[in-house]
Amino acid sequence: MSNQITAKTITDSEFFYGHKACSGCGGSLAVRIALKVLGEGAISVLPAGCMSAVGFNYPHLCFSNNSIISTFAGTASMLTGVEAGARAVGIKNFKAVGLAGDGGTADIGIQALSGAIDRNDDILYICYDNEAYMNTGIQKSGLTPFGAKTTTTPSGENIHGNIRPKKNLFEIVAAHDIPYAATASIGNLKDFMNKIEKASKIKGTAYIHVVAPCPIGWGIPVNETIDIARKMMDCGLWYLAEYENGQFKLNKNPREFSSIKDYLLSQGRFKHLDDADIEILAAQRDAKWAAIRKNWNTTEEEL
């Protein structure tokens, strides 16, 4: 596509600035970039979670677009209301955008999200996935991967962290036959920016699931947020894909994977894993990729 958004062409304006997120926070980068792509017409809705906690500290308010906190479960339903309301009063060139964490999306807000997709409301829902309830101090969410240590899934002699796999929210959303859904990662902002641009032009509901590592919760140095997001894609535990017109499409199809062990053991939350645990994760990864390569469109095209 010729009109790609790049670091050179993206607006200089900042819409999420001076926020109180931890040093090296991945979620704040996802929100910052999303709002830069959407511009001042974005009306953002944030449920309880890191980004509302660090963005709204009255009188210190870090969003320079219109922005509001919703109930924890009601991001998508508030988006529905914001969109209908803005349209009713004649506001032009706006985009109702939800910025919710993995817990607020996959667990607590999933009913409202499902309802909004069912009604095909003209909204954009972005889930920044840091794989646990980080804001309240690292509790397991539905998107916490197998083996990860959180305060509610500790690792001991018998049980090695979380015993359940990560929910596949991208495919759960796609199963609603949504007009547009995509996965992304802050490790590849070019891909993320252009998916937001594409999603913002969709008539109807659009959903983007962006992985945004949390240095505190993942147990990594604060300057390695981007590196770990890239390693996660390189080792095959995350993939960049889209769902559109009833078809799944893989954006990047790596010829070989980097070491899954290196990715896992470089993080505090996976330090306790033994070889058998790592084997389970590798087997899950291989089964997933086999299914993707068999059933999805894997012609790589730049967005």
């Binding site: 304006s13 900042e14 999420f16 090296g24 210190h60 870090c62 320079s64 902002l189």
Partner: protein, 96 residues
């Protein structure tokens, strides 16, 4: 360039000064984040203006100017992502 800027804030003195709710003007910044920082990034002459640091900074504090890139030290938290992302090692971290 349009970004929220730091402004002075008067604490309410009497009851009638208090607002009815916690809603306010967008982009209303009253405190700096510079106190969080142990190390500050310095952009050296090796910079080729590829803008990767500008793009990947979680706080958006790297600014495009006519003379290359500049850093807003009022809000830089010193995480060092810019140093790591730089393909030319043009950013050095300096202990505060």
């Amino acid at each position: 360039m349009n970004k929220p800027t730091l402004r002075s804030y008067q604490k309410p003195q009497k009851l009638s000064d208090y607002p009815l709710g916690t809603a306010s003007e967008a982009g209303h910044l009253v405190t700096k984040n510079s106190g969080w920082r142990n190390e500050r990034p310095i952009i050296t002459d090796a910079c080729i203006n590829c803008l990767q640091c500008y793009l990947y900074c979680p706080d958006g504090v790297i600014l495009k100017t006519e003379h290359g890139l500049d850093i807003d030290y009022d809000f830089c938290k010193g995480c060092g992502i810019c140093e790591k992302i730089c393909p030319k090692q043009a950013i050095k971290m300096e202990v505060e």
